[in-house]
Structure formats: structure tokens, C-alpha cells
């Protein structure tokens, strides 16, 4: 009963695929002679899975609630920074300046003490809490102001963009104590596991897969609950929803905060796999790119969002490798084509096509 609510056909297929991946990749990397799955590919797949989780987070607010957030890049980056701070402190005295407490960049800019907000980040559990708490708190405060005063539509998009931009400027400043331009990098290990080893990489990739599956199921659980239905109501007819007695701003706040936390987790898993986090993660372009993953896969389909992320990120890796000049053309064209020709995304188009074939005639819903 519960399972059938959470796992429909497309979710089932996707989760099965994900499971195969999490089994095949480690086996191919660690246990088969000749390593058919090279380690760089493991890290790459892990990275895509983090993107997919981020896309699911955005789909929750955009697909189901109509909030086009251009701030999810920021939530992702904040989660990443929280994890990065832990990884920095893990380095300990192994840094270039061999300072047991201060990260290298702080020694470099002449700081003598660890700023208060870095305290405790040598404990993994605190960092793990911060990974969700910081993006969550920011989303809560921001959303509380924005939703209460009924800022909607493009205005909301623009101010989320402004928020992200302000954060980017802030993180570029050395005085912020997050490494300025260079960000946080040169990590050594996580919970004692060497980040350079194959095993750790495989482990992180598997963890990302588990996180993605959990994120998908959580999102699915939320969207199939009555709360999810109310979200769709306020997406389609916000004013009407209020007149039914629903406090629209509370619903938006709830989903925005949950989504930001999910983005934070994605960022936290991403950082140890790519080995760096810097302020460019806050750039406007990044946040909008997330939107196109979701749009390509299909808004409001969750699984589609995850697929879209993997497709676009994969294409980016391939194209920037082969024809770096072409990538932005391709991405730009993708934005244009998807919005005009594929309003329901790849998944929507596929399933719509299959459905029409089965029924033989176009349905009224499809027209509407």
C-alpha cells in the first residue's frame, strides 16, 4: 500500500537502474581485473548523482509549487561549504603551514585565531547538522519574508537571484573566512578515510546514490501526501487556495525549507568527490542551469528531474571535452528548445506519446 504510493512505474524503473549502478560500479572498479570502470568515472558518476539530488530538490519547489528558485545553487554551495569546513579541519597539521588548528588560507592572510563560526567543525556530526541547518535556516528566513509579503512569480525568481549573487560576492571576500576566491580545497580525508583512495571514492558514490534514492522517496512521499496536493493547488490557483483556508505561505515555507536542506545534502556529498568548493558555485549561471535540468527531464516528475540532471551534466562533460566552443551553444539551444518545444520535458513527452499511442486519441487533459 505505502510502497505503491511511493513507487510508481517510473520511480520503480529509475530506482532499479540506480541500484544496478551502485552495484556495478564498485564491482567494475574494485573487483574486476583490468578495472573496466576507471576511478575518475566513479567520481564523475558520484558528482552526477549529487546533481540529480539537487534537481529533485528544485523540482519540489518549482515543479510542484511553482516557485522558480534561482537560489538553489546557493543552498547547494552552503551545504558544500559546511562539509568543506569539516574537511579543512580534518587536514589538521598536514597543511602547508602545518598549523594544527587554522586552515592554510587563514594562516596565509595572517589570522591568529579560528573565527567563532568555524568552532566545532572538527566534529563530523556538527558539520553534518550544519549541512542541512544552514541552507534550511537561510531558506526559512528568506522564505518567511518573501512568502508572507506574497512576492511571487518572476519577482521571486529575481530576488532569489539577488540573494545568490549577494552570497557570491560575500564568499569572494577574504574577510569572510571561507578562503575567498580559492575557496576550500586540498582536502585529505573524511572520517579517517583517504579521499584519494579508490575505496573512498566508490563509497562516496554509493552514498550519493543512496542519498538520491532517499531524496526521491522523500520527495515522492511529500508530493503524494495531501500536502503535495495543496502545493499543486497553490501553484495553479494560489488565491483560490487561500480562500479554502490554507495558509499558502506556510506551505511554501515548508517545501522551500525542505528543498533547501536537500540541496545542502547534495552539496555536502559533492564537495568531497570533486575536492573543492569555491564561490563560483554561487554564480547565477549555476542556479539557472539547475532549472534546465528539471525542465529537460520534466517539471513535477521528480524522476525526470534526476534524469535531466544526469543527461545535461553528462553532455556537458562530453562536449566540453570534445568541442569546448560548442558547449554554451548547445546549452543555450537546450534552454530555448526545451521551453518552447518540450514544455513537459523528455519524460512528459515520452509518456504522453506512449499514452496517446495506447489510447489511440489525444486526451482532453493533454490539450488543456
Amino acid at each position: 500500500m505505502a510502497a505503491s504510493r511511493l513507487i510508481d512505474r517510473r520511480m520503480g524503473i529509475f530506482l532499479a537502474g540506480l541500484f544496478v549502478l551502485t552495484v556495478a560500479v564498485p564491482v567494475g572498479n574494485l573487483w574486476i581485473a583490468g578495472q573496466p570502470v576507471p576511478t575518475y568515472l566513479v567520481a564523475l558518476i558520484g558528482k552526477y548523482l549529487c546533481y540529480a539530488l539537487l534537481a529533485v530538490a528544485l523540482d519540489l519547489v518549482w515543479g510542484y509549487c511553482g516557485i522558480l528558485s534561482l537560489g538553489h545553487g546557493a543552498f547547494f554551495a552552503l551545504g558544500g561549504y559546511a562539509m568543506g569546513m569539516y574537511l579543512m579541519r580534518e587536514i589538521g597539521a598536514r597543511g602547508v603551514y602545518a598549523n594544527p588548528v587554522l586552515p592554510d588560507f587563514m594562516v596565509f592572510i595572517g589570522w591568529k585565531h579560528l573565527p567563532w563560526y568555524w568552532l566545532g567543525f572538527d566534529h563530523f556530526w556538527l558539520a553534518a547538522i550544519m549541512v542541512v541547518a544552514v541552507p534550511g535556516a537561510l531558506a526559512f528566513v528568506f522564505g518567511w519574508f518573501a512568502f508572507r509579503s506574497r512576492v511571487t512569480g518572476v519577482y521571486l525568481s529575481i530576488i532569489t537571484q539577488a540573494m545568490t549573487y549577494a552570497l557570491m560576492l560575500a564568499f569572494f571576500r577574504n574577510e569572510m573566512g571561507f578562503g575567498g576566491n580559492n575557496g576550500l580545497t586540498d582536502f585529505k580525508d573524511i572520517l579517517g578515510f583517504d579521499l584519494a583512495s579508490h575505496e573512498t571514492k566508490v563509497g562516496l558514490m554509493m552514498l550519493s546514490a543512496v542519498a538520491l534514492a532517499a531524496g526521491l522517496l522523500l520527495a515522492r512521499w511529500i508530493t503524494t501526501s495531501r500536502l503535495g496536493k495543496v502545493l499543486v493547488c497553490l501553484r495553479d490557483a494560489e488565491s483560490r487556495t487561500r480562500f479554502l483556508g490554507y495558509r499558502v505561505e506556510h506551505y511554501k515555507l515548508f517545501i522551500f525549507t525542505v528543498s533547501a536542506m536537500m540541496a545542502g545534502v547534495a552539496g555536502a556529498l559533492y564537495v568531497p568527490q570533486v575536492g573543492i568548493i569555491n564561490p563560483s558555485e554561487f554564480s547565477t549561471a549555476n542556479s539557472i542551469e539547475i532549472v534546465i535540468w528539471v525542465a529537460l527531464g520534466g517539471r513535477g516528475t521528480l524522476v525526470g528531474a534526476a534524469l535531466g540532471a544526469i543527461l545535461v551534466a553528462g553532455a556537458k562533460t562530453l562536449l566540453t571535452g570534445w568541442f569546448p566552443e560548442l558547449w554554451l551553444f548547445a546549452l543555450g539551444a537546450l534552454f530555448v528548445l526545451v521551453t518552447i518545444a518540450l514544455p513537459n520535458g523528455v519524460l512528459g513527452a515520452l509518456e504522453g506519446g506512449i499514452g496517446r499511442l495506447r489510447r489511440g486519441t489525444p486526451t482532453r487533459e493533454a490539450e488543456a
Binding site: 511529500i222 501526501s225 495531501r226 500536502l227 496536493k229 495543496v230 499543486v232 493547488c233 495553479d236 490557483a237 488565491s239 483560490r240 487561500r242 480562500f243 479554502l244 483556508g245 490554507y246 495558509r247 499558502v248 506556510h250 506551505y251 515548508f254 482532453r364 487533459e365 488543456a368
Partner: protein, 259 residues
């Protein structure tokens, strides 16, 4: 939020007016859409509000439901709650239900879900997150589907309904809310004559247990309601009384019926 209850003429609570508007005004860019409007709706009363286009009928409903704040004046609910301090969700939770001039249903949900979402109950996000459908509610939905005669279409996506069906669905949603006061804005638009009469009957049967304010341009419909009529003109009450009486008044004929 709530004020001290103060009695009018020492009446017992049941006999006090459900809704009480006094000296309400609201201007948009200097244009007075509502101008010193006063109105009393008794508990269980059915009231028709008529008036030419732009008379301020919809704006009056906006004010009652907290969508629009009046510049001056008082709006009291059951003699105790100042509605001008509340917003749409508050007034809905208090028991004021509203049907819009332009039918708005949730186009991406089924007919059934539209009704289920409107059913009276806890509206908080967490309650919604952990909500489980109860048998009693399912029965109520069946009942409502019977009333609005959309039983066959219960699993249809609401977006695919016809205009008239949407009107009915919205009436159903209004009933599902189980409100104390129903504000019904032009329910008959887009309905056949027979359906219009059915709607009138439905509203008449609802009144008594609840208060109902109906705005309508269709005079046959208003006649069928057979109730007290308020004529609104330029944001204030021009006349009040039985339809025959008000339609005989020369000033009403001039501003409204005469046109």
C-alpha cells in the same frame, strides 16, 4: 484579533446578525469602489445583491473575505471578530466560504480531490503531510458528488470539465467547506435555464442552516431565490427589500433596470 463581544439591542447570540458592515469605504486610486456601505446579514438569511457592472459587489466580497482592506468602516463577524484585520485564510477558517465570479477549480486535480481538499478540517501543513482519508470523509464526498451531479466524473481532471460543470464543482467545494456564510458570486453564469433553477433551489435549501449572500445579474434567478434583495450602486446601498418592491422604485429603475 477578536474584540469583546458587544450586543446589539441585548439580543441573545442566536438572534444576532451573522455579518455586520458599517460605514465601509474603499477607494482605488481615488475611485471609490465602496462608499460608506452598511449591510446586516442575519443568521440563516438568504440575501441577493444586485447592481450594475462596477457597482462594487465583488469588491464587497473581497472586503468581507479579507482580500481587500477597507479604508474606513467596520466589518464584524458574529458581533465579535473584526474581519478587517484578517486575511483570506483566516476568514475561510472562520467559516466564510466563497465562490468566484470566474469559476476557479484546481485544474490539475480530479473532481474528487477538489472536493477532498475543500473538506473542512485542519489546514496546517503538518496535518496535511500526515493526513489519511477517513471513511466519514469519503462518504461526505459521495454525498456532495450526488448534490452537484458529478458522480460519474469523479476521477476526471477538473481542468477538462465544461464551464457549467466547473461552476457546479465550485459550488460543491463551497459546500464541502461547511461554511457559516456563503458568498456566491454569479453562480448561474454559463448554466442552462434548468440548471439555474436547480442552483436557486440548492441555495434556498442551504439557507436557514447557514447564511448566504448571492450576487447575480440574472433577474429570473433572483426572483426564484425569493428573498430580500439589496441593490448596490456606486459602492453603497441604493435600496433594500423584496425584488418586486425594489424594482418598482424609480431610482433603481433609473440606475439599473432602466438601462
Amino acid at each position: 484579533m477578536s474584540q469583546q463581544p458587544h450586543m446589539i439591542g441585548g439580543l441573545p447570540p442566536e438572534a444576532q446578525p451573522q455579518l455586520y458592515l458599517d460605514g465601509v469605504s474603499r477607494a482605488f486610486d481615488g475611485f471609490k469602489a465602496i462608499n460608506n456601505l452598511s449591510l446586516v446579514i442575519e443568521r440563516g438569511e438568504l440575501r441577493a445583491v444586485i447592481g450594475p457592472n462596477g457597482a462594487g459587489k465583488t469588491t464587497m466580497m473581497d472586503i468581507i473575505t479579507g482580500k481587500t482592506r477597507p479604508d474606513t468602516g467596520q466589518v464584524l463577524w458574529e458581533q465579535s471578530v473584526d474581519l478587517t484585520m484578517l486575511d483570506e485564510a483566516d476568514t475561510a477558517q472562520l467559516g466564510i466560504g466563497r465562490k468566484f465570479q470566474k469559476p476557479t477549480v484546481f485544474e490539475n486535480h480530479t473532481v474528487e480531490d477538489n472536493l477532498a481538499l475543500a473538506l473542512k478540517g485542519d489546514r496546517s501543513p503538518f496535518a496535511a503531510l500526515f493526513y489519511r482519508a477517513a471513511a466519514k470523509e469519503a462518504a461526505r464526498i459521495d454525498e456532495l458528488l450526488g448534490i452537484i451531479r458529478l458522480g460519474d466524473l469523479r476521477r476526471r481532471i477538473a481542468g477538462s470539465l465544461s464551464h457549467g460543470q466547473k461552476q457546479w464543482l465550485e459550488i460543491g467545494m463551497l459546500l464541502a467547506q461547511d461554511p457559516q456564510l456563503l458568498l456566491v458570486d454569479e453562480p448561474a453564469a454559463g448554466m442552462t435555464d434548468a440548471e439555474t433553477m436547480l442552483t436557486a433551489d440548492l441555495l434556498k435549501s442551504i439557507a436557514g442552516a447557514r447564511s448566504v449572500i448571492v450576487v447575480e445579474h440574472d433577474m429570473d434567478f433572483v426572483r426564484a431565490l425569493d428573498c430580500k434583495v439589496t441593490v448596490l450602486h456606486q459602492g453603497s446601498v441604493l435600496a433594500e427589500g423584496r425584488l418586486d418592491a425594489v424594482s418598482a422604485m424609480p431610482e433603481v429603475i433609473e440606475v439599473y433596470l432602466g438601462r
